[in-house]
Amino acid sequence: MTGNIDHKRLGRLREDQGEIANHIIDEFAAGRLSRRDFIRRATVVGISVPALGSILAACGSSSTSSGTSGSTATATGAPGAVIKAGIVTPTAAINPVTVADQGGLDMLAQTGEYLCLSSQTLQLQPVLATSWTPNGNSDIWTFKIRQGVKFHNGQALTADDVVYTYQLHTNPKGNANALSAFGGVLAPAGVKKVDDFTVAFHLSAPNGNFPYLTSSDNYNMIILPKGYDPTKWESTFVGTGPFKLGSYTPKSGATFTRNASYWGKKALPSQTVFTFYDSQNPSILALTGGTIDVVGQFAVSGAEELLTGNYNIIKLKSAAHRQLSMRCDQGPFTDARVRQAVALTLNRPQIVQALFKGYADVGNDSPFAPVFPSTNTSIPQRTADVAKAKSLLTAAGHAAGFSTQLVTEQFVEIPQYAQIVAQAAQEIGVKINLKVESSSAYYGKATFGNSDWLDATMSLVDYGHRSVPNVFLTAPLVTTNAAKGTGPWNAAHFKNAQYDKLVGQYIAASDVSSQKTIAGQIETLLLDQTPIIFGYFYNYLTATAKNVTGVYPTAIGHLFLYNAAKS
C-alpha cells in the first residue's frame, strides 16, 4: 500500500462490514495484501462492488481499473451472430447432479446459472445471488437471492429453488458429483430458507472459502426449479441463463437460442451451435477449415498450427498439472534425499518450452500454483542441479544409482514428460523403466491395491484445475485413513503429521496473509520431503477465429458465449 489512507472514510465503511471483511480491509490498509489479492478476497467474503470501490478509494487506490468488473461486462461486438463452437463430447447424460466431465459441465452452463461466477482471475461475481456474508466464525453464510429472475419455463426464481437445488446436491445418500466438494462442509439440513429471497448455509465446519463452492467452480451447482427431476434435465435444459435450449443430440451436438426474457444483459448471439468432438485433431481441423468459430479447449501438443498468430488464443493461467509421485514407503524412495535428487534433475523451463511452447508455469514441487493468491512466492524456485542431486544420492547410499519403474497413462503430453524424466534421471545413474498404459488400465479401480496409479513405485498422473488448492493439498498428500476418508489419492503414500497439521490450519484460515504464511511453511516442508514432483502448471487455452470476439472460457472448462460476436 503506497497511497494515502483516508482513515475517517475507511472507518465509516468498516462499520457496514462484518468481522472477516474488516480483517481483510485491515490487511489491505496495512499493506499486507496486494490490491489484486484484496479484490479477490473481498469478493469471496461478500464485500459488494460499490463498497469495494469506496474502500479502494479511501485507501488511495484507484477503483476504476480492470480488477473489479472482470471482462464479462465488456461487450463490444455486434449482436445477432450465430457462433459455432467445438467442445469435447459429454461422456454421459446431461444430469446436473451427476455430470463430472468437461463436455457435460459446458452444457450445464449454457442455460443454467450459478449463485456466483468464479471469473478468469478467480474473483467471485454475483449472478443469481446478489450478495453474501459470513457470520463472525465463517460457519454460517447468508446469500441474498436475485429478484425478478424467471426460469425458461416461466416459473419465478425464489429461495425455495436454491434450497431444493442445494439439498439435492448435498444429500449424502445421493450420487451427486458435488459431494466431493460438499462432504464434511455442508449437509442438507444446513441449507435453510430465511425468507423468499434469502438462504443461509450452516456449515459443518468454518470455511473461509465457502462462496467458491456456490460458484461456477462447483460446476454442478446450477439452480434448478424446486422439485425438478434432474434426470429429465437433458430434455429441457431448464435454467435461468441468457440462452435457451434449441436442440440437443447426445454424442453429436446442441444448439441454443437467445433468451429474450433474460433478467440481465441479453446475450449477443442469436444462436449458438455446439459440435462435440471425441478428440482434439478433428476440432482443430474444423476451426482451421472454417466449420467452427471456437475451439473450447486445446492442448499445445498437436495444435501448434493454432499458435502461429492466425487465430485468437485466450490463455488462462490455471492450476491444472501433473503429479509425479514417489512411494515414500518403498525403497529407495523412503529416503527424502533420493526423492529430492530426482526432482533436482529436471530442467523445468526447458520442459515447459518443449511440451507447451511456454504456455505453462513452472512448478515448485507443491500444489501452490502461481495462479493461487495464497501461494507464497518468497520460497525459492527449485532449479536443475545435477551435482547437488548426485551428492544427495551418494549421501543416501546410492552412489551407483538404482533402477526403478514409473507407471503412467497414455494421455496428452504425459508419455513425453515421462520420457524427459527418465532421461534426466539417467544423469544421476537412476534408471527409470517406463510403463505407459491406457488411462483405464492405469487408474484401475482407483483404490489402494487395485490401481497402478496408487500402487506404482513412481506414478505420473493428471490433475485438472481447481480455483483453490484445497483438494490438491488434501487428497494426494494427507495421511491416508480409510475410516476418515482422508488421503484417498495419496499415491506417494506420504505420511507426515506436521504436514497434516499445517494443511488443517491452512484450510481453516480465512485471510490471505495467514494463508500465505502457512502456505510458505507447507511449500518449504514439501520441498524438503518432495513426495510429489510438481513440474508445471499448464495454461488453459481456447482458440477462436480472428473475427470472433467476446468468448469467455474459464479454466474449470466453461465456455460462455453470451458476449460473443463476429466482425
Binding site: E304, E305, Q350, A354, Q416, A418, Q423
Partner: protein, 309 residues
C-alpha cells in the same frame, strides 16, 4: 505342383472363411517331391525382385544389429531446445517432439521389429505345422473338434485377440512374440492341413502304413517334406503380416515401451504433430515399415513363382 497361391488366399486374417471339408480344399499336390529343390535357390538368385527384397532386408538386419554404431546420434538423447526441427544437414530426418534425432531412431528402431517378427512367425509356423499335420493326417473326430476350434478363433479379429492376451499378460517383447505366434497358428494349421489332405491317400503313405510306421514318423518324415513348399510360402506370407501386426500393436501402445525407439510407437507418439506440419516425424518410420513389408512381399512372390515354375 502345389497350387499354393490359391491355398493361401482365403486365409488372410479376418478374410472370408473357406470351407474346411475335403471337398472344399482346392489343393492338388500331384506327386511326392523331396522338399525344396536345390535348383530353386539358383532360380531365386536370378530374380531381380528377390535381390531387391533381400537387399532391403539385409539392410534392416544390419541396422538391427549395428544400429547404435551407425546412428549419427544417440537415439535417446533429448535436446529439448531443438525439438520439432525439420530435416537439415545436422538432422537428415529432423528431430521429434523431445528433440531426438529421427534418423537415429529409425535406424535403431529396426531392432525390436526384426526380433519379434521372425520369431513370432517361426513360432506360429512350428505350432501351425504340427497342428495342421495332425489334423490332416489323423482326421476324424480330432480334425472335427480342432477344426471347429480353429474356425472359432479365426472368426475373431486378430487385433482383438492380441489385445486380450497383452492386457492379461502385460506388454513385453516376449508377450508380443507369443501372442502373434499363437494368432498365426490356426491360420498356418489350415494351410498345412489342406496340403496334407491331398497327400493322405497317395500310394507312398499307404505303403508306409503297411510297413507299420508309426503315425508320428509318417507325419514328420513322410508328409512334412512333401508339404514343405506350401509351408515355406505360408511362412513368408505370414512374415509380411507379422510386420504389420507388430507395428500395429506398437502403434496402439502394446509393444515396446518408450523411450526405446520403435517405428510403430514413434508414429503413435508423433502423429498428432502432422497437423502442425511436422511430417518428418511420421513419414520416415512409416516408410521404414513400408519398405520392410514390401521387401518381404517381393521375396514371397519370388519364392512362390520359383516353386510354381
Amino acid at each position: 505342383m502345389t497350387d499354393i497361391a490359391g491355398n493361401a488366399a482365403p486365409l488372410e486374417p479376418g478374410g472370408p472363411l473357406g470351407t474346411l471339408g475335403p471337398a472344399g480344399d482346392m489343393v492338388t499336390v500331384a506327386t511326392p517331391v523331396t522338399a525344396v529343390p536345390r535348383s530353386a535357390w539358383r532360380l531365386l538368385l536370378r530374380r531381380p525382385t528377390f535381390i531387391i527384397g533381400a537387399v532391403i532386408i539385409v539392410f534392416w538386419v544390419f541396422c538391427a544389429i549395428f544400429g547404435h554404431a551407425i546412428a549419427p546420434y544417440n537415439p535417446l538423447e533429448q535436446q529439448l531446445l531443438f525439438n520439432n526441427t525439420g530435416p537439415s544437414s545436422a538432422h537428415w530426418f529432423g528431430t521429434d517432439t523431445l528433440g531426438r534425432d529421427v534418423l537415429s531412431r529409425v535406424l535403431v528402431g529396426a531392432r525390436d521389429i526384426l526380433v519379434v517378427t521372425p520369431l513370432a512367425t517361426i513360432l506360429g509356423t512350428i505350432l501351425g505345422t504340427a497342428l495342421g499335420l495332425a489334423m490332416g493326417y489323423l482326421g476324424g473326430p480330432f480334425d472335427l473338434v480342432v477344426g471347429r476350434f480353429v474356425e472359432a478363433v479365426l472368426a475373431l479379429p486378430a487385433v482383438i485377440i492380441a489385445f486380450l492376451f497383452i492386457v492379461a499378460l502385460g506388454p513385453s517383447t516376449t508377450t508380443l512374440i507369443v501372442v502373434i505366434g499363437l494368432i498365426f497358428t490356426p491360420l498356418i494349421a489350415r494351410t498345412v492341413r489342406a496340403a496334407v489332405l491331398t497327400e493322405r491317400n497317395l500310394d507312398y503313405l499307404s505303403s508306409a502304413r503297411l510297413l507299420g510306421e508309426r503315425p508320428l514318423r509318417i507325419m514328420f518324415r513322410e508328409i512334412l517334406p512333401n508339404v514343405m513348399p506350401a509351408i515355406l510360402v505360408e511362412f513368408t506370407v505370414r512374415l509380411g503380416y507379422a510386420v504389420f501386426a507388430v507395428a500395429t500393436l506398437s502403434f496402439l501402445g502394446f509393444g515396446v515401451q518408450p523411450p526405446t525407439p520403435d517405428w510403430g510407437s514413434d508414429i503413435a507418439a508423433d502423429y498428432s504433430g502432422l497437423l502442425a506440419g511436422y511430417w518428418w516425424q511420421v513419414l520416415f518410420p512409416a516408410l521404414a515399415i513400408a519398405s520392410l513389408v514390401t521387401a518381404v512381399n517381393l521375396i514371397t512372390d519370388s519364392i512362390e513363382q520359383v516353386l510354381n515354375s
